[in-house]
Symmetry: C2
Subunit: 194 residues, 2 copies
C-alpha cells in the first residue's frame, strides 16, 4: 500500500452515493507535505518523458500540478472554467461535465500556452467518468501537442473513465485506484497495482 | 524593484479598462520558480507570526497558498465557490463579487478546517476592490480564528480594496502595488515600498 492509499484509509470519508471525501487533505484543506510527495511520485513514474508542461483543470488540480511541475522544472497551465474578461479570444476549448457538481462547464486554455512542440503531462486529483480528462486531452491535441502521460491522485476504478482512457492507449498512472467503497462499514478497497 | 515587479514589467500585458494580464506566469500559465519565490517572500514578511493555516480562494490563489504554506509547514485551505455535493452543510459562507468575472459567488469553507485556535494568513494573487479578501476575512472571523496577516501578489493601488483593508487595521503586504497603467504606452507604475 502506498502513501496515498494509507492516507485515504486514515482520513478519507466514505459517503452514500459512491462519494469519497478527501477534503481534509487533498481538495479543500490541503496537506502540503502530501502534495510534495505526490509531485515526487509522478516525477518518478514519468521520469523517462521529456515533459515541457504540466496541464490541469481548476480548481483542486492546481496544487497537484504545481507539485509535479516543480519536480520537472517546467511551467504548469490550468484550464479555466467559464469565460473571463482577462482571457483573449484565442483559446482552445472543451466542454466538460462535472460528476461532483452535476453541471457542464466550458473550459479553456489560451493558445499562447500550448504549442505543437509541447510534451504534456496531464494531472488531476480525481478520475471518475473521465470527462475532465477527455477535455484536457482534446485541448492538448487541438494544440498539436503530445500527451506524454496522465497522472491522477485518486481513480474511481468502478467508473468507466480510467478504462476508456487506457483503452485509447494513453499512459495513465493513478496513485490510488478505488475498486469499491462501503459507506456502511466505512471501508475502501484498492486495486492491487505493481 | 523586487522580483515580482520586474516580472510584471517584463511579461505583464496592460489592456484597456485597467486590466493587467499576468496570465503567462501567475494565473493561467504558472511559473513554479516564481511561485516558490513568492512563498519564500511572504514567509519572510510574516516570519514573526505563529501561522497555523494559510487560507485562499479558488482558483488562482491556490498555487500561491501552497507555495506559502510549504514555507510555514502548515496546511492550506481554499474557499470553494458554489455548492458541491461533496461539502457538508456545516460551512462558513460569504458572498463575493468578482471584478474579473463580473458576477457574484457564494464561497464556503468547511467548519472542520477553521477553528478558534487558528492563526490565519490569507493570501491571493490579486487585490482590486477587495471583495474576495473581505469574504475570506469574514469567514476567518466567523470561525473565531485570527487574521494574522494578508499577503497579496499584485494589488491595484488605484482601486479602494487595499486602502479599506489597511484602514481596518489588518497587516496587508502586497508584493507589487500598481499605482497606474497606461495601455497606450504599455507602461506600469508601481508604488514605492520600503
Amino acid at each position: 500500500m502506498n502513501f496515498l492509499e494509507e492516507r485515504i484509509l486514515k482520513d478519507g470519508i466514505v459517503k452514500e452515493g459512491n462519494v469519497l471525501k478527501v477534503d481534509s487533505f487533498l481538495n479543500h484543506q490541503m496537506d502540503v507535505a502530501l502534495l510534495d510527495e505526490i509531485g515526487k511520485e509522478f516525477h518518478r513514474r514519468f521520469a523517462d518523458k521529456q515533459i515541457t508542461k504540466v496541464l490541469t483543470i481548476e480548481a483542486s488540480g492546481i496544487a497537484i500540478a504545481y507539485a509535479v511541475a516543480r519536480c520537472f522544472g517546467v511551467p504548469m497551465v490550468f484550464a479555466k472554467k467559464a469565460k473571463s474578461i482577462n482571457i483573449d479570444g484565442d483559446v482552445y476549448t472543451a466542454e466538460v461535465e462535472s460528476f461532483t457538481h452535476k453541471n457542464k462547464n466550458m473550459v479553456l486554455v489560451s493558445k499562447r500556452f500550448l504549442s505543437a512542440e509541447d510534451k504534456v503531462l496531464i494531472v488531476d486529483d480525481f478520475l471518475a467518468n473521465g470527462c475532465a480528462l477527455q477535455g484536457l486531452i482534446s485541448i492538448t491535441e487541438a494544440a498539436g501537442a503530445s500527451v506524454e502521460g496522465i497522472g491522477i491522485a485518486v481513480e474511481k476504478g468502478f467508473q468507466y473513465g480510467g478504462r476508456s482512457i487506457r483503452n485509447l492507449g494513453y499512459h495513465l498512472e493513478s496513485l490510488a485506484i478505488v475498486e469499491s467503497m462501503d459507506p456502511k462499514n466505512k471501508t475502501v478497497v484498492f486495486r492491487e497495482q505493481v
